[in-house]
Symmetry: C2
Subunit: 511 residues, 2 copies
Amino acid sequence: MENNNKLSGFKAWALFGGSMVVVFGLGLLTSALMERRAEVASLFNNRKNMMTGEKIHPQNEDFRSDFPREYQTWRKTEETSFESKYNSSEAVDVLAQRPEMVVLWAGYAFSWDYTTPRGHMHTIEDMTRTLRTGAPDTETTGSNQPGTCWTCKSPDVPRIMQEKGIAEYYKANWAMWGNEIVNPLGCSDCHDPETMDLRISRPALIEAFQRQGKDITKATPQEMRTLVCAQCHVEYYFRDDPATPEKDQYLTFPWDKGFTVEDIEAYYDETGFYDYIHALSKTPILKAQHPGFETCKMGIHGQRGVGCADCHMPYMNEGGVKFSDHHVQSPLNKMDRTCLVCHRESEETLRQNVYERQEKVFDVRNQVEKELAKAHIQAKYAWDNGATEEQMKETLALLRKSQWRWDFAVASHGASFHAPQEVTRILSHSLEYALKAQVEITRTLAKLGHLEEVPMPDISTKEKAQQYLGLDMAGKVAAKEKFLQEIRPKWLEDARAKGKVRDDAYTTVTL
Amino acid sequence: MENNNKLSGFKAWALFGGSMVVVFGLGLLTSALMERRAEVASLFNNRKNMMTGEKIHPQNEDFRSDFPREYQTWRKTEETSFESKYNSSEAVDVLAQRPEMVVLWAGYAFSWDYTTPRGHMHTIEDMTRTLRTGAPDTETTGSNQPGTCWTCKSPDVPRIMQEKGIAEYYKANWAMWGNEIVNPLGCSDCHDPETMDLRISRPALIEAFQRQGKDITKATPQEMRTLVCAQCHVEYYFRDDPATPEKDQYLTFPWDKGFTVEDIEAYYDETGFYDYIHALSKTPILKAQHPGFETCKMGIHGQRGVGCADCHMPYMNEGGVKFSDHHVQSPLNKMDRTCLVCHRESEETLRQNVYERQEKVFDVRNQVEKELAKAHIQAKYAWDNGATEEQMKETLALLRKSQWRWDFAVASHGASFHAPQEVTRILSHSLEYALKAQVEITRTLAKLGHLEEVPMPDISTKEKAQQYLGLDMAGKVAAKEKFLQEIRPKWLEDARAKGKVRDDAYTTVTL
């Protein structure tokens, strides 16, 4: 009995002592938190470059001393090291991996050159190097693309828009802005330079919201962690106002009817819009850009309110300061700060879960690319053998539907994980329409007296596929080289002379 | 200063007092837990029906007094009330909802009659009532099905196996066991009657594990909460040993190469097995049964170790005793005890998540059923117009692949939720093969001089589709009624006289 009492006494004191320790710990924690908040406040109140009243500040290096952590992690986007078994450390030639895509894009610049995307630091470099932007022969003309193409590449874009007007910026020749757009995608694209608040710098997103009756300035901070990305990682097109004779090439998001593949198709079908006429099948093709925002909304992470930045720019700690990692990359590269924040499984388990979703999507995608390329080739055979427009009408409608779905499903790169079931569903229908087109063509060819299978060209490599299309790739490469050696350096020189870019900027060093 | 000291003193006392309350609460909790365990132990040690040494005890009512909670919830399976927008409170005529299925199963009893499944209490009733089991004209002969068909329907099955031998049980005529199989699926199917431990009562699962080199007796209790269900909710077939002249109809799980739709197809293809020859297209068809276990393993719940019982038989509390709810049903019916155990979202959100997954699957499934039915009809047209076996070979191979995938994806009912992406992937390939078959048939027909689209019969209702197949449905219904009125009551009378079924059993009351 006495023993029990002693024990109880000891327990009570232990409890009391323990409580004191806990309270002391809480005090320390509160102090540390307050110190940390003070440090962040001090950073903002003592900036060396105040940028007061500035709406856009393109030189990323000017932010370096005030925001060293964000700047340094942003500089790391120079390295493109995806920790995924489907990506290597350098840009991969996708056309070499999947040569059917050369056929799918026949008649469009993507059939010349298409590689996996690299980090934000490479926006200017990669855009000038790709064959798709052509080879300007003077300083302001000669590209086959409009100014619109630069829109997602640099904080110089909103500056030019401010200086020259939005419409004027879009409709100029791509080469027109070569000596203006020199700073790669950076700080001022997503942040107000004065307050560093997240803000939308590109008009297309604001306008799309307005047409849907929504005010983007009402977005919450968490929504902004997705919406700043949605300025670029979306489906868009270059709209020409049918009321004006010249080409406007006005960057527009086709969201007026909704965000699904069917909603956006209905939007385009209403005006009969197409990006190009397919060189083999003569189909009016819709080229999907990269509907990352749209597809992400249809997956469980998007539906649960996870923002782009939560996984692609996770928080990190350094010197007592918590900040967003600006080395935007695959979340599989830093799973301890991404997946594991919510999921309790091992890294290896989660990684395999991701791969499994991707593999199931690729399983269907590969069949689509094979059958859709085949259908385009068969359609050309039908045309060549005298098929009439009336006979081909249904086939072309089916091919348009099939290709739109395929491209929507694959173009955003991440969709196979962001919304695996939706993407598999979309690809099912793509495969369905490609094969229905084959049924149509088979019947049409039979009516024209051709009963055997259509002979297939050898498209087993990128080169063979490009040769089949009769593309002068050597000529395109030579012209590009000439441009890179003769015109491109003048653009940069001019920009430096005008103070548009600092001597320590990434582009200045590499271009 | 003095005030502060007073406050600290008050805080210390509050902390001390609070701790005392917590400790007192812990004591109460421990006591309650111990009492509860004692109650459960007491239940087991003081059974009124000890069933010592019994391996099987078919009369479910004999368990009632010892396990009233489990028995009462099991009795509730009499009610089939799915809280899903895709299920109504009664068995639904699926053929009436989707008449293409009549065409898909042409040449097989499923084209006569197929309804949504009802609860475990209805196993005997539904099996005797369905047109698929035919209309025995004597007490032991006349069905078109073997004894094997009863295997999942009653705890009388392992009893007969014990008494007559497994092989003898399978190969008898279905009618042979009509006066023996009288207790609906119940206690002894999953529990050892003496210890009430979960155990496997059916040989097919044990044998499948053995062929894979696994010992099912090594399964953990949590694994058993899935494996007892996997005795029945799986893909299986009736195997005939090619070495023996008579039909064995030996229930076999085709898992030797793995669990995926491709693995199981490879297993069947190896021996050229088929369930029936399609009445229209002459395709050797693989009829999928209900691969719930296999598909569930391919979804995230299965991969995370969630057992069937966790969602379909969740724990509940009554009178201080925790037990498994034996009213097996849709987890959407009791979300507070199923989904919400792990997920923190609202019931409404989770319900919509489930529906969204199902709708995406159904979107593809509906296209498959339309195009595959069309392909079978087109194939018949080709045969009717003189196509040769050589010309139809590729078409039949494609139709077999397509139909196997379709049936595997839809037959288990839950797969659209259990593994939504895998099921969408499987259906994509089903659609692919159905349309490739259409391409083949189109070319074959063209070679036979038929250049126009194949005329389609009206299969817009179940009745019209059955009429198209030339089925004598009135004759089948009349024969069934005669059997139910003349033969069926004798079976039950005989069973009662022999003491095989108690007077208060569900079947005794309803049949």
